[in-house]
């Protein structure tokens, strides 16, 4: 029931904010702040009430809820929460909270309507993370787009309309393909078992011909890969991210992209094991291409937000790389990546927003030497830049390290290239630092340092990213059961893609790895 409440609270809060927005501007801000805080409290309570360690014996599911909705089609209003969803929810509410704070002094027009959209996006995202019914999933999947479209289209920067169209059309197109896949799955399952239902758990057992499985998986992938995004389906992202208002960018980068990753974990892996295994090498290849392509483009951008946008293209490459490595390390890495990337990129967008407040440009060629007058900002920027280049001690390192060490078990060469991507990451990340904070101040504006409110936003993020970097265990424990759940289908896959604890004795004779490399893990599919 509490799950339903989370969504209802957000939606109600949104409507309330809209209505009160006509009275004055302060109210909606406070309302949405409180709404999100309430949900955050709920989520935290859920977490503390369920010590992660207790999950392991009694299965992954912490809480669930099922209400009949469209019985004719076997559509139910099924919500369920496991470690993964809980983590995503926590991230959602934290970032939502920050998004509200960020827009506090940024949004002055139509404040009420703004917060309505903000809260409804969050509601949609929450729904996506919670639902266990494919119809409902698609429903929420679409619901979260409209308000996002408005956020970009109304409060965005100069080129907002174009960006909004692009975002909307890309996501819609891919979503419809997923819808087709969902429907076919529905009918296939129905014709096999006679039970026509969209329920996730029912559909899990469905079996189909390899070709069919492939097609269905592509249907789902279409939606998730566009959302993630994976090169070459990424071109909506830079526009959307750079044109959206700060809060919008934060939610886009921090949450919307994660719905794609979540979809991969929750649906693609367990529903289509054979197809996934067959497709794995190509998916990982896409991931690597994404990592490198994103990094290369990020390096030459002059629009700060656009630069950061391309860095997320690069970082999301790690996600798909890890997902299709099918082992615990990699998936843990992916989950970490989802969270830490949400924080670090979110923070970078917020910093960009702060700078935009001060000098009214996003062009880094016009910046420089801000460290002199804004040391606090500099230090915090330093932290998150380092996070984005994966400096150990910060959360992103754990994520990337686990992802890579996991994907190495599956495919050596691709992992090597992915690792090279880290060097490129260094190049573009340091470029931010150098262009913005080093050198001489070229603007005539005097850059004043972070205000109290801004510190209130940034400091928690710094603490979180440090915590995740130095003691990520709680997160890992929380995610473990659900990751095991997703991996069930892969426990009987070829030995060489499971992580090689027992390798040490299995290969005591002098083995010639160089020749093994090509035959390892996902790579066999490439032949």
């Amino acid at each position: 029931m509490i799950l339903l409440w989370m969504i209802v609270i957000l939606m109600a809060g949104g409507v309330l904010a809209w209505i009160t927005g006509r009275v004055n501007d302060a109210l909606p801000r406070w309302i949405s702040l409180l709404t999100i805080l309430a949900n955050l409290a709920l989520a935290v309570w859920l977490w503390l009430a369920e010590p992660a360690t207790a999950l392991v014996p009694k299965g992954a599911w912490i809480a669930n809820l099922s209400i009949a909705w469209i019985p004719q089609w076997g559509v139910g209003f099924d919500l369920a929460l496991d470690g993964l969803s809980l983590l995503m929810l926590l991230l959602t509410f934290v970032l939502g909270f920050l998004a509200v704070l960020v827009s506090w002094n940024e949004i002055y027009t139509k404040v009420g309507f703004f917060h309505f959209n903000l809260l409804w996006v969050l509601a949609g995202i929450t729904g996506v993370f919670l639902t266990m019914d494919l119809f409902l999933f698609y429903f929420f999947w679409e619901v979260m787009l409209i308000p996002m479209y408005f956020l970009i289209g109304i409060w965005g920067h100069e080129n907002r309309t174009y960006a909004a169209y692009k975002f909307f059309i890309f996501t819609q197109a891919s979503g419809l393909l997923m819808l087709l896949a969902i429907l076919s799955l529905y009918f296939i399952h129905g014709s096999q078992t006679g039970i026509y239902t969209f329920n996730y758990f029912e559909l899990l057992g469905t079996s189909f011909s390899p070709a069919m499985g492939m097609w269905l998986m592509f249907g789902f992938l279409a939606a998730f890969l566009v959302k993630l995004p994976v090169v070459p389906f990424h071109s909506w992202l830079p526009d959307a991210h750079s044109q959206a208002p700060t809060a919008g960018s934060v939610i886009l980068a921090g949450l919307l992209l994660k719905t794609g990753a979540y979809g991969l974990l929750r649906f693609v892996l367990p529903l289509f094991p054979e197809a996934a295994i067959a497709f794995a090498p190509w998916a990982m290849l896409l991931g690597v291409i994404g990592i490198i392509y994103g990094a290369i483009l990020a390096y030459s951008q002059t629009d700060l937000k656009r630069l950061v946008a391309y860095t997320s293209v690069s970082h999301m490459g790690f996600v798909i790389l890890g997902v299709f490595a099918f082992n615990e390390l990699a998936l843990q890495g992916v989950v970490m990546q989802m969270i830490t990337h949400g924080l670090s990129t979110g923070a970078l967008f917020i910093m960009a927003g702060f700078l935009y407040d001060r000098i009214h440009t996003r062009n880094i060629e016009k910046m420089g030497g801000f460290w002199a007058t804004a040391p606090k900002m500099g230090v915090i920027a330093l932290v998150f830049v380092m996070a984005s280049l994966g400096l150990p001690g910060l959360g992103n390192f754990i994520a990337e390290f686990l992802t890579l060490i996991g994907s190495w078990q599956a495919n050596n060469w691709l992992t090597v290239f992915a690792t090279i991507g880290v060097v490129l990451a260094t190049a573009y990340s340091l470029r931010i630092l150098k262009k913005v904070y080093y050198g001489q101040n070229l603007t005539d504006h005097i850059i004043h340092d972070l205000s109290g409110r801004e510190m209130l936003i940034m400091v928690p993020m710094v603490l979180l990213i440090l915590w995740l970097g130095l003691y990520p265990q709680p997160v890992i424990d929380l995610a473990k059961p659900s990751i095991d759940e997703q991996l069930q289908a892969y426990t009987n896959v070829p030995e060489d893609r499971t992580i090689s604890m027992e390798k040490s004795e299995s290969t005591t004779q002098p083995t010639d790895t160089l020749s093994q490399l090509k035959t390892k893990g996902g790579a066999y599919g490439l032949r």
């Binding site: 071109s235 890579l404 050198g439 090689s500 790895t513």
Partner: protein, 628 residues
């Protein structure tokens, strides 16, 4: 005591934290107190720890602070491992570090970003300690990257100067290239052992791999990749000279004494893997040889005082690599320690000089400082003597002579290596004293603005003493059987086997080495003090000039890398700035628009057209139904 190990790295971190949080608010005097104080305390702790370690003769201390993360049996911890090898390193890091902090307290006193400086320095000392204390490779990697970050911050410390920013970035990126190789090495190790705990790997490796197994070679080489990056060896040496953009204490601490020797530490730490991979070890030896020569010759031609020192650092680390390559583990570590002393000393001295001549770096604008700054001069002279390995009196002689000797007589030693090392020694003594003579002799060219005070002199003196006496704890066999250092390291590092045939005639080689060093000094004296015109004459010849230019540019590596990697990458990136893939989608959009304009033409608004449409439709429908 061994439960307090964690304090050693923790204290500098604490200092850094305090300085970051309150650095801007606290009174100026507090900054060095916290900065130097924290390092000082941890150096004291180190000394206590060392005393206890020696007294109770334990093989190693291990302290497990907390489990970093734990997934399916893979659980690297925040855990510290202390053994003889580590002791040497943490001693050097904390003690030399402390001295340099003291020095900086005065050296940086005028700088606006006083607290930022000390914060970064403390952060560095902390990370460096983590690096050497780590008991697993992941934690080591943390320290490894941490020092990289601090080096980046401190090279770019004077950030208003764009050049410094570039230098900092260059350093970070190039070392990151090496780190990537190292990371892949870690993946490979994990794949085979399912753990990254150093000791476990070292014990399991011999059972897993036989000597010469390809995997072992691969792993070793990947680790070497990391090492050459950090230690500025071929082919990744180009960043270190530019790194001199940082303040002199930084160069002393990071780019001479400690960080750049991390590579040496890494290889020594994982020596078992290298013994399993002779090929890789050979590679290390030859990298060392090549580097020490190239860097040496480059140093000959530099005018910038600090760049000379930078290249000499590269070349000295080359010696260490050579030693590692031939399996003279303890010799390498010994040279590391001695080098830390005298090179730190030299940089600090250079710093004092540069500061005195208000930030003048060019040697040829200096001169005649011998009388003006006696303390600096004498300490600098001692340091140079040690660097040039002046026989018997200087510590450098003992450490380097050992390497020369083992390079020939050691297990994997060979004549080529020996000759390279010898030639290197010769060049070293030339450029060292070239530096000394040009800087301190001759007539004064620039007015002296600032004389070093007590806090700057003290470290100089202490380090000078160390670089004189430090050598006597390890004497060549034929002097007296007095080898404290090797014996001390014996539990950790195997003692190298010596070709007994040569052992009898070791004294010949010692004399050769001594003569080489002295003759080098004499040549320097001849060219740069007695008969300067000789040098000018030589430089007039076309060949010499081009050679000079070539060496001056550091054998053209920078140009090469720019041409091969940097420019193409930047070009590619800029060329594709507006994302080629996007054109496909925009093209799609335009196509539909074009279709629209096409279709719109059918809506003429005229009845005739519409009726025509209906008729055509009818005909089509009928024909279709008739055809089928």
């Amino acid at each position: 005591m061994e439960n307090l190990i964690w304090l050693i790295p923790a204290l500098p971190f604490l200092g850094a934290l305090l300085l970051i949080l309150f650095g801007l608010k606290m009174p100026r005097i507090m900054v060095p107190v916290i900065g130097a104080g924290s390092v000082g305390i941890s150096s004291l702790l180190t000394i206590f720890l060392g005393i206890q370690f020696l007294s109770d003769g334990a093989a190693m201390y291990v302290q497990h602070v907390w489990t970093w993360f734990s997934i399916g049996g893979f659980s690297p911890g925040i855990a510290f491992h202390v053994d003889a090898l580590t002791m040497v390193f943490i001693f050097v890091i904390t003690f030399v570090g402390f001295l340099i902090h003291l020095y900086s307290a005065e050296f940086m006193a005028e700088d606006a970003d006083y607290s930022r400086f000390f914060a970064s320095m403390n952060l560095f000392v902390g990370s460096m300690l983590v690096l050497v204390l780590a008991d697993n490779l992941v934690l080591l990697y943390l320290g490894w990257e941490g020092v990289g970050l601090c080096s980046f911050l401190l090279i770019g410390f004077w950030y208003r100067e764009p050049a410094n920013g570039y230098a900092a970035r260059k350093a970070f990126i190039i070392t990151r290239v090496g780190d990537t190789a190292m990371a892949i090495g870690l993946f490979l190790l994990f794949q085979y052992f399912g753990t990254l705990n150093i000791q476990e790997i070292l014990t399991q490796a011999p059972q897993t791999w036989s000597v010469g197994s390809q995997t072992a070679v691969l792993v070793a080489l990947l680790l070497v990749g990391g090492a050459v990056g950090k230690s500025a060896q071929l082919p990744l040496q180009t960043w270190l000279p530019d790194a001199m953009a940082g303040p002199s204490p930084v160069s002393a601490l990071i780019h001479a004494a400690t960080m750049v020797t991390a590579g040496v530490y890494l290889i020594t730490r994982t020596y078992v893997l290298f013994e399993l991979a002779p090929t890789a070890q050979m590679v290390v030896a030859f990298i060392g040889a090549a580097t020490l020569l190239i860097a040496g010759f480059t140093a000959l031609t530099q005018n910038d005082l600090k760049r000379v020192l930078a290249y000499s650092t590269i070349s000295q680390i080359g010696y260490m690599f050579l030693a590692l390559g031939v399996g003279a583990w303890s010799a390498a570590v010994f040279h590391f320690m001695i080098h830390a002393f005298f090179k730190a000393l030299l940089f600090l001295g250079a710093g004092a000089v540069i500061m005195a001549l208000h930030h003048e770096h060019d040697m040829f604008k200096m001169g005649g400082l011998r009388k003006k700054m006696p303390v600096v001069f004498w300490t600098f002279l001692i340091g140079s003597a040690s660097l040039a390995a002046v026989p018997l009196i200087s510590a450098g002689f003992y450490s380097k002579d050992q390497i020369l000797w083992l390079g020939l007589a050691g297990g994997n030693g060979s004549v080529i290596l020996y000759i390279a090392a010898l030639l290197g020694a010769f060049v070293t003594s030339i450029y060292t004293f070239r530096m000394v003579f040009i800087t301190f002799y001759g007539e004064e060219k620039t007015h002296i603005s600032h004389m070093p005070g007590f806090w700057m002199k003290l470290p100089l003196v202490v380090l000078a003493i160390l670089s004189l006496l430090g050598g006597f704890i390890e004497l060549p066999h034929n002097f007296a059987h007095f080898t404290l250092f090797t014996d001390y390291l014996k539990p950790v590092l195997p003692v190298i086997v010596i070709d007994e045939g040569l052992a009898t005639i070791e004294w010949i080689f010692q004399i050769v080495a001594a003569l080489v060093a002295l003759s080098g000094i004499y040549i320097a004296y001849l060219f740069y003090l007695k008969k300067p015109y000789l040098a000018q004459n030589m430089e007039r010849s076309k060949f010499a000039m081009s050679l000079h230019r070539f060496w001056y540019s550091g054998w053209g590596f920078d140009a090469l890398y720019n041409a091969v990697f940097v420019r193409p990458y930047v070009y590619l990136s800029k060329a594709n700035r507006s994302d080629g893939i996007d054109f496909f989608y925009t093209g799609l959009a335009y196509f539909t628009q074009w279709l629209n304009s096409l279709f719109t033409r059918t809506q003429t608004g005229m009845l005739r057209t519409y009726m025509m449409g209906v008729l055509v439709g009818a005909i089509l429908v009928v024909t279709i139904s008739l055809l089928l």
